[in-house]
Amino acid sequence: MQLDLRLPIGLLFSIFGAILVVYGLVTPIEAYKQSLGINVNLYWGVVLCGFGAVMLGFALRARAQAREKLQARDE
């Protein structure tokens, strides 16, 4: 079976999101002068995590469906 692209996309953006959230939480707000005083790492990290989770959700659902189909055929 071919690799489901949603899996690596979901993983990659979840990891990116997690990295940014963690980094955003440990950096003081003074570090965000250039981004107009907004902790963009934290907020955008959350968005990326959300996107990654949705992609992973799709991929895992498709995988479960494929498995069910296989099982149904075996029976």
Partner: protein
Amino acid sequence: MTVPHPRTTIRRVGYRPYRPPRPSPLAWPFRSVPIPLTQSIQLGAVDWIILVTYFAFVLGIGAALKRGMKSSNDFFMSGRNIPAWISGLAFLSANLGAQEVMGMAASGAKYGMMTSHFYWVGAVPAMVFVGVFMMPFYYGSKARSVPEYLKLRYDEKTRTFNAFSFATMTVFSSGISMYAMAKLLNLLLGWNFNVSLWASAAIVLAYIFLGGLTSAIYNEVMQFFLIVLGFAPLVFLGLRDAGGWSGLMSRLDLVATQSHNAAGQPYAAGAWASAWHHMGTPASNPMGVEWFGMVMGLGFVLSFGYWCTDFLVVQRAMVAKDEQAARRVPLIAAVPKMLFPFLVILPGMIAIALTYKAGETGFALPVKGNAFDYDMTIPLMLKHYFPTGLLGLGLTALMASFMSGMAGNVTAFNTVWTYDIYQSHIARNRSDAHYLWMGRMATVFGIVLSIMTAYMAQHFNNIMDMLQLVFAFVNAPLFATFLLGMFWKRTTGHGAFTGLLSGTFAAAMHHGLTIPVGAESLFKGGWIGPVLHTYPSEMAQNFWTAIWSWTTCFAVTILISLLTKRTKTDEELRGLVYSLTERHDEGHLPWYQRPIWLGAMILVAVTLLNLAFL
């Protein structure tokens, strides 16, 4: 797009990418402080982690796909088994290289809202056309490449002509892409030019060698999401800094009234903020073109020529899993394409608006000579607004799009080389394993040639300019050949071939006999001697070169076809010509999956967008 931005690219658009019109002398004593480019960005550890994670994924995908690469069909055509949404995003992404992104932002700064024509006039209608009308022939004919379609429809010489010019262009485009990236990384991050060049080439080579076209397509889709998610915060921060939408618009009025055209008159206040209002005459808008030349040259000849005949994008639709999916591919791509101006043009408009209020906010475009250095818009905005962390994401997006630009060209090259040149002229009737091996070898030498091109670009700028010009001449007439081939069964091989040559010749003549205002080099036109016409801008000249070339090819092809005998019977042309191909009944599909309805909805939406930014 469409049609890639001039200065930074040599993409196979059917014309010579326009150069910006003469740099308009800055009329206004602006207060902008040039950002010193020599001061490179310092990456933090977290930026490095993001960058390295991305490359690990890229190589991992290639390795994971390796098991599936058993035949040449898997390697070159992804086994014709790619879901429509993936092909659709790859179709879009193949055109969305970093040079395109940076070039469109540069144009956004230079021409304002009019840059949207490259999307809403110069791309979306052609994408709908290729999906609704052309895909059935490309897909239904089972041709494996665009040149191969020409062989089936016309003859061997037309195919070979197209295969050679296309293969050469892909190598040069990929080389230019490598060069641009290595140069940018050197400028921005202080990285060594040679190291950047060879490292990026090695990564691209590794993942195509392993996973073939599928690997390139998967990476293009990842790049699509990276660009969207990497640049969206930039638009948000920039817009906020500019005082929101209304703040941006009032600043753009200032930009317009303080800039002036070649004759020294200032533009009307809305010139940067509206797409159509100031297109009555070339002198009243910053692009220096009038509506007719823009709609015919860009919207018809160049745009249809690029989206309908360029194998780099068409290949992405050809590998869809069935004909219905193949027809939906360009339509799926058209939806994000419509929205891209907000992601890539808007930052440029924001950048120029902020530059004119520099002193208050801090961001300003740097100055080069007597004009702004527009090409650096995106990298400098990333540098200005993105803190460590997000900066890693933005740079990864930029590098990913440079590299998928190379990969797209290399995969198109190895296919055309192996099928249309090697298999048809050098080694016929070999085993499939042999062609798979040749595909991998073609990948290696395609990349080696690209590296050589990159060094050539570094040393001989003029050679690049000249090649770019020649390619444009070769490509401009191609759409006439396809249009006649698909919709008029009487078109003959001799007609098509002669038409193509005449169209190329007409493009060269037109370019040689006209110049844009303020041309200082023969590469810009007038190299034949007498100058018959002076265009108000280089863009106008390019649009009209395309119009002349297309019209000549169209007329000559018809004429010669009528004078020569048909060599292909109706039976042989079945599936290749509209009138001889049975239409599939699509009654069983729900309406939202029927190409004709999807296409109609997209055209309505794009019309509304044009009206909204009239």
